[in-house]
């Protein structure tokens, strides 16, 4: 900064008015640029919703050879697309085959807090917080707020096709994520 006594500004009413107008115009222009950019910059960060996207049925191998009546953990592969990254994901499910054209398919995640449960002594048991379910999926012990979540399925030509889904944990209602 130069070291000298600052030159006093004109205090004429017209000059003061002119300065105030210029200050207002400067603020208006800067405000316009900021507002114009706010919408794109905020929208840019909001992730796209999966709502309305078509869900598909994926074939689960080895269903025809499944033992009737015995809950069995089965796996299937599907392509997962996240933005620009495509990868293969292996899903696991619990299947109880009642007949060649009838089955019950459970999500492998406990409705309490989404831990993976096991089938021991004719019951589904969650190791995390002790939720227990019978083969019908009904909660018979522990903190789970609802029964085991079933997944949509169809049987075509003797083969099982399952629609993978995720549900909110810890609430009594079965609500898709």
């Amino acid at each position: 900064m130069t070291n000298h006594t600052p030159t006093p500004r004109s205090q004429e009413p017209e000059d003061i008015q002119k300065r105030n107008f210029i200050k207002g115009a400067t603020a208006a222009i800067l405000g316009f640029i900021t507002l114009f950019l706010t919408i794109p910059f905020v929208s840019f960060l909001i992730p796209s919703s999966n709502e309305g996207k078509n869900k598909k049925f994926v074939k689960v191998p080895n269903f025809p050879s499944l033992t009737i009546g015995a809950p069995t953990k089965m796996t299937f592969q599907d392509v997962d697309v996240q933005a620009f990254i495509t990868s293969n994901i292996v899903y696991d499910i619990w299947v109880i085959k009642h007949a060649p054209d009838k089955a019950t398919v459970y999500s492998p995640l406990c409705p309490h807090l989404n831990c993976r449960y096991t089938f021991v002594d004719s019951e589904f048991k969650c190791p995390c917080h002790g939720s227990v379910f019978n083969e019908n999926g009904k909660c018979i012990g522990g903190p789970s707020p609802r029964p085991l979540d079933t997944l949509a399925y169809k049987i075509e030509g003797g083969e099982l096709f399952v629609q993978w889904d995720l549900f909110k944990a810890g609430i009594p209602e079965k609500v898709e994520v």
Binding site: R9, I22, K23, L30, P40, S48, A83, F84
Partner: protein, 261 residues
């Protein structure tokens, strides 16, 4: 009489930091010869640099610096992310415009003789800033990892490698491997998003500190120098008008001349 709340807050902050006094002196800087549009080029550079930094950071939310995903992540950003085309476009055209405005700014300073004593440090730091800008323009286009970017990087690094004595070493540092590939992309990425932004921020601060020591040199005609203008609000208004025109140009170019890919 009770002081307004704003005055109380200002005094509290100023007592503890001196910031209010600093900004008051900063804003009421006198400009010999009065305010001019030719003085707006420096502020235009600052405006463009700010836009480049913000749009650059925003793109980091989607860009992936690997040879598998660099191109697809950028395509996703441009085609599927809301307003991604605008943010990428502003960054793409902003880089070119920044280089042009920096050049015009240096030319204006040279023609007016504002590099002369006692402002030599301002000039020298400015030259360093031009070199950093050139490095930005070299490292940035490589990041999409498209044909243009790949070969621009290959040729540029090859030129660096042809320098006697230090060429091979420089090439190996820039390439990070025997040939252009993942390592080179990563190094261009780190240079472009971390090292060069830190360097430009530091040197811009020094540039401004050195500039504010003696202020604007003003016109060489003594009669014209007698007129006094002020930074706030007159010069800032002119700066903001030019910034608005630059901003409109950037949005226009982004919308009607998208970057090729």
């Amino acid at each position: 009489m009770k002081k307004p709340v704003l005055d109380t807050v200002k005094n509290w902050v100023d007592e503890r930091t001196g910031l209010v006094k600093f900004f008051t002196e900063f804003l009421h800087e006198e400009i010999p010869g009065g305010t001019r549009f030719s003085y707006t080029l420096g502020s235009a550079c600052m405006f463009l640099l700010t836009l480049q930094i913000v749009t650059g950071i925003w793109q980091l939310f989607y860009y992936v610096p690997t040879i598998d995903y660099a191109y697809s992540s950028l395509s996703y950003l441009r085609l599927q992310v809301p307003y991604g085309w605008l943010i990428h476009g502003i960054h793409y055209w902003g880089g070119t415009l920044f280089t042009i405005i920096v050049g015009l700014h240096a030319l204006r300073v040279f023609i007016w003789g504002s590099y002369k004593k006692p402002r030599e440090m301002v000039w020298l730091i400015g030259i360093l800033l031009i070199l950093i800008t050139a490095l930005f323009m070299f490292t940035g286009p490589v990041l999409p990892w498209d044909k243009n970017g790949y070969w621009a990087g290959q040729v540029g690094i090859g030129i660096a490698g042809s320098v006697p004595l230090v060429g091979s070493f420089t090439q190996s540092i820039l390439q990070g491997a025997d040939k252009m590939g993942q390592m080179a992309l990563l190094r261009m990425y780190v240079l472009h998003v971390a090292i060069l932004p830190a360097a430009i921020a530091a040197f811009v601060m020094l540039h401004l500190i050195a500039f504010r020591k003696y202020g604007e040199s003003g016109p060489w005609d003594e009669k014209k120098r007698k007129k006094i203008g002020y930074f706030w609000p007159e010069q800032i208004f002119k700066d903001v008008v030019v910034s608005l025109l630059i901003f409109i140009l950037l949005v226009f170019l982004s919308a009607f001349f998208p970057s090729p890919f």
